[in-house]
């Protein structure tokens, strides 16, 4: 028996772990994105699949190469880079030149994520930030909207901003049969994915519900058509998939409500008063930057905590 004495494993408690894992969470996010991915192929054709796959592959490769180059443990197996790639792809027009998609992917993973220390350390959402950088760098190709029928035209938001006629019907808005970034148009598919994530307890309802409700209320108050505002542009994609990113949004539920409300207000304000017809990315990035402070502001009261003596 004594030979076993030296060989026992001694670690701090607890000695058992639950089933949750980072890659299972990321896999759930990918599963939740499948309906919108399928819809984008149906709406915009097979090039949609090409763009998303190129982004995902470029993100994973960027992470792999960066980590290899810095002799860090390779973490592509956690699927987080793949999620970033798919989300970035969803935020691009289907006509985007592939080299630009690759550039954006490298920006997302290397500049926004890895240079800040990798998974869990970045303060801004990699896909959102990469999209904003691409929008500024490639403003022509990034706003080259192709409609489902193959001709180039305006997104519903552009039409709303310019007061133009020809808005698609409500059913087409839900199904995504209109211009826009390839993964953001099919609101129904995105909501389906969002409900899946809430049901799997991957995300909580607080951020998306408050985000969408605030956009709805505020655009209505500003005299706009609120239904078109929540169903078009990046609201659904942003609310369910980007504003719920663990790393760059608050951990506490009051913080999540603040994040959702803030992003909703900024989206409405940017859309109604800004130069760009869309404002979701800017709103989320803005709230990302505030996240450490939102967390600090909303520390949960501990059971039995003494009030601070002044």
């Amino acid at each position: 028996m004594s030979d076993r004495n030296g060989n026992l494993i001694v670690t701090a408690s607890p000695h058992i772990k639950g089933g949750a894992s980072t890659n299972r969470i990321m896999l759930d996010v990918l599963i939740a994105l499948v309906p919108a991915f399928a819809a984008s192929i149906y709406i915009f054709g097979p090039r949609s699949a090409l763009v998303v796959c190129v982004c995902a592959a470029a993100c994973v490769l960027s992470e792999f190469v960066f980590e290899k180059a810095l002799k860090r443990p390779v973490t592509v197996g956690d699927f987080s880079a793949c999620v970033t790639g798919v989300l970035l792809g969803f935020n691009l027009p289907v006509t985007i030149p592939l080299w630009q998609a690759v550039f954006g992917s490298a920006v997302a993973i290397i500049l926004v994520k890895q240079l800040f220390g990798g998974l869990g350390k970045n303060f801004a959402n990699p896909a959102i930030t990469a999209r904003i950088i691409m929008l500024l760098a490639f403003s022509v190709t990034m706003t080259n909207w192709t409609l489902p029928d193959g001709v180039t035209g305006a997104t519903p938001l552009t039409m709303l901003a310019k007061g133009a006629d020809g808005l698609p019907g409500l059913k087409d808005m839900l199904l995504g049969l209109h211009g826009g970034s390839l993964g953001e148009t099919c609101s129904a598919a995105l909501m389906l994915g969002g409900v899946y994530l809430i049901a799997r307890r991957v995300i909580s309802w607080h951020t998306p519900v408050v985000f969408i409700a605030v956009v709805f209320a505020l655009t209505a108050a500003l005299g706009q058509d609120p239904v078109y505002h929540i169903l078009s542009g990046g609201v659904m994609l942003g609310a369910f998939f980007m504003a719920t990113d663990y790393v760059t949004t608050p951990m506490t539920w009051p913080g999540k409500i603040i994040f959702g409300a803030g992003a909703g207000i900024l989206t409405a304000v940017f859309r109604v008063y800004g130069n760009y017809p869309e404002g979701v990315s800017f709103a989320i990035l803005f709230m990302n930057i505030l996240t450490p402070y939102t967390n600090r502001l909303t520390i949960r009261k501990v059971l039995g905590e003494k009030e601070k003596e002044k």
Partner: protein, 428 residues
């Protein structure tokens, strides 16, 4: 009333149905002088002395301390200054048993007429918190002047997986618990005595309801089987709605919590005069061939327990004092059974190896599942950054180390370890 969070764990109460079996007297016992919180006991015997079962071998070393008694009859072989397993300074007395188990002369039932005698008896019994904490029970039962005690809670939650020794106490020693409760209601003027049991122990609940019947103010409370139901602050909150203040004691909100086995041990001492010299221990885990409840003399090497339970599998890799959530991994199987050892678990290598840790993704599950409302991820970050002021801001001191955060962590961060180290950092 806010619902406290926790973790849904596999129960693994494999031994709940097996009545404890008495271990044959071990050849040798090593009895540490510090099996409780507070000052270690001082040895009152020397090497070569003959001792008998129940004889005092270590007297209480201070106000917060507890006496230690011999668990076997035999001869003191040595008094060691150092723990052979950890190398730390910790006195222990090694006794060679003669196998006779002769009772010490003068052991007789105690007659208790007043609260003072009761408290003296508790002090002499050597009983400490047997739920695991090991806090000297006499100190806990000393109600300071001005405290408004109105409720005593008997803790039969036993929320840790595997452990069933309290379950067995409630089933097999219900009579002793009843005697204990009568003593408490005689000497403590409380409005209610609540027996809290998790609802995964129907037989124990039945027994407790039987003894509670006809006792005024005594009530059995079924609780959901959600870890850490048996944590003192959690139990008090769930049964009374009262919140123990930061840095305070249950008595500050008028409550004393006693583990059910602790109460039974006190009753046994008063009934027979035999102090706390043996303990019912659950022996289980994937590396134990025949899991059992075993009554073992205190100081018995845990290797004897495993042998009694069919031995260990060849790939046994981790041995715990206590349950898998809060238990302490021990370095060797020659470690002794302590007063507050309620289980000894052994796990095979495949179960003992935890998945590798990855980066925190700030998902917030640690905070969402903390019964106390702490944010373990923030505490860990504060610890890694060595920021004492952040550790204080996030109230590391209020953590009871139940492990719900680490259990639920998808990145498998060693959160409890960081918290323990964070507390140590604050202590300086």
């Amino acid at each position: 009333m806010r619902r406290l969070r926790g973790a849904r764990l596999p129960h693994n109460k494999n031994t709940a149905g097996s009545a404890p079996e008495a271990l044959p007297t071990p050849q040798i016992v090593r009895i540490p002088m510090s099996m409780h919180i507070g000052a270690p006991a001082k040895p009152v015997v020397s090497a070569g002395d003959s001792v008998k079962v129940g004889q005092l071998i270590g007297e209480a070393g201070g106000a917060v301390s507890a006496p230690v008694h011999s668990s076997v009859s035999g001869k003191v072989r040595s008094i060691d200054e150092y723990d052979p397993a950890t190398g730390q300074k910790a006195t222990s007395i090694t006794i060679e048993a003669d196998g006779e188990q002769t009772l010490f002369e003068g052991i007789e039932p105690k007659s208790i007429d007043n609260a003072e005698q009761f408290l003296d008896a508790v002090r002499e019994s050597g009983v400490v918190g047997l739920g695991g904490a090991g806090f000297p029970t006499a100190v806990k039962l000393t109600v300071r002047e001005g405290a408004k005690l109105d409720c005593i809670i008997i803790n039969g939650a036993e929320c840790e997986p595997y452990i069933t020794s309290d379950t067995r106490t409630m089933i097999d020693d219900a009579r002793l618990i009843k005697i204990g409760i009568s003593l408490l209601s005689r000497f403590y003027k409380v409005e209610s005595i609540l027996i809290g049991v998790e609802n995964n122990k129907p037989e124990a609940i039945g027994k407790m309801e039987e003894i509670a019947e006809g006792m005024e103010g005594v009530e059995v409370r079924r609780m959901p089987s959600r870890y850490p139901q048996g944590g003192e602050k959690v139990l008090i909150y769930n049964l009374t709605g009262r919140i123990v203040p930061e840095g305070g004691l249950p008595l500050d909100v008028g409550v004393i919590v006693l583990n059910c086995t602790t109460l039974a041990a006190i009753a046994r001492y008063i009934e027979t005069g035999v102090p706390l010299v043996s303990k019912c221990v659950t022996v289980d885990g994937s590396a134990v061939k025949v899991p059992k409840n075993v009554i073992a003399p205190i100081g018995t090497p845990v290797s004897d327990l495993f042998e009694f339970c069919g031995g260990l599998t060849s790939d046994a890799a981790k041995v715990l004092y206590g349950g898998p959530m809060m238990g302490v991994a021990i370095p060797g199987i020659d470690m002794p059974v302590l007063k507050n050892t309620n289980a000894v678990l052994a796990f095979r290598r495949s179960d003992a190896k935890l998945p590798p840790e990855t980066a925190c993704i700030r998902c917030g599950r640690c905070a969402a599942n903390c019964p106390m409302g702490l944010a373990a991820a923030e505490i860990e970050r504060a610890f890694l950054l060595k920021k004492k002021e952040l550790l204080e801001l996030y109230k590391v001191g209020l953590c009871m180390e139940c492990g719900c955060c680490a259990y639920n962590c998808p990145a498998r961060r060693p959160l409890v370890q960081s918290i323990k180290l964070g507390k140590a950092m604050l202590r300086g």
